[in-house]
């Protein structure tokens, strides 16, 4: 499929016969139920440019994430935000549209922090290019980041340019037996110091933290922190399984909720089991508890709650927006997709 064929499909679509943009389908579960005729982006693939010394990779949307990660790994580089793939079929376009980041998020930034440029086709079949391949670029509004995480509701991503980084020279994982409250307090204190922290995960009384950086820095931080070192290959498997939600915590049919809250929020009195990542900023819950109750708890803490997997999506997947913000969302939808042809209901019911 080339961009002209995409444009033709988009022109032929309508509010009554919308399109469901899809890459590898690995994140079909995320957001509102996909509806409409599938517009498969997988045919539009390939790495367009990768110059390691520029720290930038540009790829077509349908390029498999695994292909990009392999190309980067061959040069000792990586996508620092560690995007969850949720399956080998994941494409880079889908990764950017979903906007999800992995365990390293608090240390290096989220996916959106690494997006430098995007080429897309909007709902009127216009091919548009925003941002570029350079780190510093303030020409025009930051539409690349607006598209990131918009779940395909604003346009079909054709191509993305991402900032990449060299892999850390050294990584080490330490474990501590601690209750949730104490684990949260310690991680917050460590995060406010230059201790090379690059990930944290608490579950079932065990806190795991990862250190990344130069050898000397990691050694120094390890001495300060103490804890039980985890063998390197076990550690790599653990963080990968966390990122891909393959730890036993994530198994089974119980609805999975994601709470995004200010990291220093104390342990939330909500149903167990909970898994706490991102220095306290991302908290996973397996529960049948009512959406309203979880959303209220998250909003009071200064964050929001998402029904990530399973459960009843009848009450919406994402925390509803205040009226002024919802109106802005409607207007922004109309800026790029005035006929409402892309991914209806995937983000909010009327977006």
């Amino acid at each position: 499929m080339n961009s002209q064929e995409f444009s033709a499909r988009i022109r032929a679509a309508s509010r009554e016969q919308p399109l469901a943009i899809r890459g590898g389908g690995s994140k079909d579960f995320y957001g509102g139920q996909p509806s409409g005729e599938v517009l498969d982006a997988r045919g539009y693939q390939g790495i367009v440019a990768y110059e390691p010394s520029e720290l930038v990779i540009t790829a077509r949307a349908g390029t498999p994430l695994v292909e990009i990660e392999a190309a980067l790994a061959a040069q000792g580089q990586f996508l620092p935000f560690e995007p969850p793939a949720f399956g080998a079929a994941a494409t880079i376009g889908g990764v950017v549209a979903a906007g999800l980041s992995g365990p390293r998020r608090m240390a290096v930034g989220a996916l959106r922090d690494f997006v430098l440029g995007i080429k897309l086709i909007d709902g009127e079949a216009r091919e548009l290019k925003f941002g570029g391949q350079v780190m510093k670029n303030v020409a025009g509004y930051d539409i690349s980041r607006l598209i990131t995480g918009s779940l395909g509701t604003l346009g079909l991503i054709l191509e993305v340019s991402l900032k990449v980084l060299p892999r850390p020279v050294c990584e080490r994982t330490l474990r501590f037996a601690l209750p949730a409250g104490e684990a949260l307090a310690r991680v917050s204190a460590w995060a406010a110091k230059p201790l090379s922290l690059s990930a944290s995960c608490w579950q079932d009384g065990v806190l795991s933290v990862r250190l990344s950086g130069a050898l000397a820095a990691v050694n120094g931080a390890e001495q300060t922190l103490g804890g039980e070192p985890v063998p390197e290959s076990d550690a790599a498997t653990f963080w990968h399984d966390l990122r891909e939600q393959r730890l036993p915590f994530f198994a089974g049919e119980m609805p999975l909720w994601r709470l995004s809250v200010p990291p220093t929020t104390r342990a939330l009195v909500l149903p167990e089991p909970q898994l706490i990542e991102w220095y306290g900023g991302q908290r996973w819950l397996r529960t049948q508890t009512l959406a309203t109750e979880l959303r209220e708890a998250a909003v009071i803490a200064g964050g929001h709650a998402t029904l990530f997997r399973g459960g009843d999506k009848g009450t919406g997947t994402f925390t509803p927006l205040q009226a002024v913000m919802m109106e802005l969302h409607r207007r922004l939808k109309a800026v790029f997709d005035p006929r409402g042809v892309f991914n209806p209901g995937r983000l909010y019911p009327d977006i």
């Binding site: 720290l55 204190a189 900023g281």
Partner: protein, 499 residues
């Protein structure tokens, strides 16, 4: 007053009723907060780009959010343009007033509302100076990472509007990477909160859209910034090169070796010659170019990284290498770089700062081209670069009192920016489009992309009252620009008083 943002042409605001505006403003803000006499307006006629000046109808020095809301609601109802301003240090004319509008200064809203050392965040009003945040956070071992050259004066509200950078953004990011939340007032007077203290917010990333929007979407009234733990120590290498191309290649080699320096700056021979008599930084004046490569972190970490950078620089053909021996020497090495702009002002009656960004590997090519342009336009140019991220600041030296020099300078600048776009870069890395680079936008973007920017603007401000005529050129202007593009040296903006 019925107005509508128009992508095609700039709106005509000639029918604004000054008397009614002033009487309504006087009724809703305290007397000292409203300025309308010409001698009081004069200090606000321009920002850091003093070449373009214009007097507003009135200046309001807002003291709190309620006054911002009141001013915006009045102007919204009366159809009056509003230009928000922080410290006025911007270099692209973004805060130049509108002749039929209100200049809304946020400089008096300068309270630091909260510093949370555990969360490593600060809540501040928009008029707080960039450096004041770091000073207030220092007691907790924290600082605010983005450090534009003007950080002693520029405000965080202005930093948000411009997505300001600095010399450390290769490692620590730009404003967009260091701001967690913005509270702002739309032109209609509605309060919006974008982003938050949580790692993300539901819905579209409107925080990213707001940052770098040059005051066209909403007026910032509160900012939550991320603070960074202060590194234990820092050291800088000063490396000399006998060829600018080799210096450019050394930059790529450092990054290719997997090193992300805390700062990576380059100055050419003309730049070191300009600053050395001024600051005595100890620069190698025989070198064609020097690089400043900084490492920060723990003592052991810095030792390790400095040794690695040294090896790469040696292998890249550096003709001389000096490593700062102590903090005083580190600051001395940096003093020269930070003094580049004032030094340019010292050796030339006027200078014009350019802000293109290009892929790093094209640095040598760009420098050679600039050398050719110096001859073509008969003007000197000194070059300082944020080499690590490819952001160039050529300073074109000229004398505005010499007939024709201003126009030649603008044509010189335009040619650098056009080449930046052609090399795969952008017309502005960190100073913003403002009023100055509107024509450059016509080069960088196709009309459908500009039209999308206009639609986005209208989504926030349907009447087109916030900072009209800035950041995004009208489609008509670009069509005209395309037609006159061949005639070099024509005066831009003939309607603006010039200095």
């Amino acid at each position: 007053m019925k107005r509508q943002h128009d992508p095609e042409r700039e709106q005509d605001f000639a029918d604004v009723d000054r008397r009614q505006l002033l009487s309504e403003l006087a009724a809703s803000v305290p007397r000292p907060a409203l300025l309308c006499e010409p001698e009081d307006l004069r200090p606000y006629e321009c920002d850091g780009l003093a070449a373009y000046r214009r007097l507003p109808l009135a200046v309001v020095l807002a003291e709190d959010e309620a006054q911002v809301v009141a001013v915006l609601k009045i102007c919204h109802r009366l159809g009056v343009p509003v230009v928000a301003r922080g410290a006025g240090t911007g270099l692209s004319g973004g805060a130049m007033p509108h002749g039929q509008g209100v200049l809304l200064s946020l400089a008096k809203m300068k309270r630091i509302l909260k510093i949370d050392p555990l969360a490593a965040t600060a809540v501040v009003e928009p008029g707080v100076r960039n450096l004041a945040i770091s000073e207030a956070a220092a007691a907790h071992g924290l600082y605010y990472a983005p450090d534009p050259s003007s950080q002693i004066a520029c405000t965080i509200g202005g930093n948000v509007a411009e997505n300001a950078g600095g010399v450390h953004c290769l490692k620590y990011g730009l404003t967009v990477h260091n701001v967690l939340k913005v509270r702002a007032v739309t032109m209609a007077g509605e309060i919006v909160e974008l982003g938050g203290a949580a790692p993300d917010a539901p819905g579209y990333d409107l925080l990213a859209v707001m940052i770098g929007s040059e005051g066209l979407l909403a007026v910032v009234t509160e900012v939550v910034v991320k603070l960074t733990p202060k590194p234990q120590t820092a050291q800088v290498i000063m490396a000399s090169f006998d060829d600018v191309g080799r210096a450019g290649d050394a930059v790529a080699a450092i990054i290719g070796a997997g090193i992300i320096p805390a700062g990576l700056e380059m100055m050419d021979k003309a730049a070191t010659a300009a600053v050395e008599p001024f600051v005595n930084a100890g620069y190698d004046l025989a070198a064609e170019a020097i690089l400043l490569c900084e490492s920060d972190g723990t003592v052991a970490e810095v030792d390790e990284e400095i040794a690695r950078m040294r090896r790469v620089l040696d292998a890249s053909g550096a003709t001389g290498i000096r490593v700062s021996r102590d903090e005083a020497e580190r600051l001395k090495f940096w003093a020269g770089r930070k003094a580049a702009f004032p030094a340019a002002g010292r050796i030339s009656p006027d200078y014009y700062c350019i802000d293109g960004t290009i892929p790093r590997r094209r640095l040598g090519e760009m420098l050679r081209a600039i050398g050719g342009m110096e001859r073509k336009f008969g003007l000197r140019c000194i070059n300082v670069f944020h080499a690590g991220d490819g952001n160039l600041h050529p300073l074109i030296l000229y004398d505005a009192n010499e007939p024709g020099q201003t126009a030649r300078t603008e044509a010189f600048g335009a040619e650098i920016l056009e080449l930046s776009v052609a090399l795969g870069g952008t017309i502005t890395g960190e100073h913003g489009v403002g009023f100055e680079k509107l024509d450059g936008m016509c080069v960088q973007f196709a009309s459908e992309e500009l039209a999308a920017f206009h639609r986005l603007k209208a989504a926030f401000d349907p009447q087109g009252l916030l900072n009209p005529g800035k950041a995004v050129p009208s489609l008509h202007r670009c069509a005209e620009f395309g037609r006159m593009h061949v005639h070099r040296g024509e005066l831009k903006f003939p309607d603006i008083e010039r200095f």
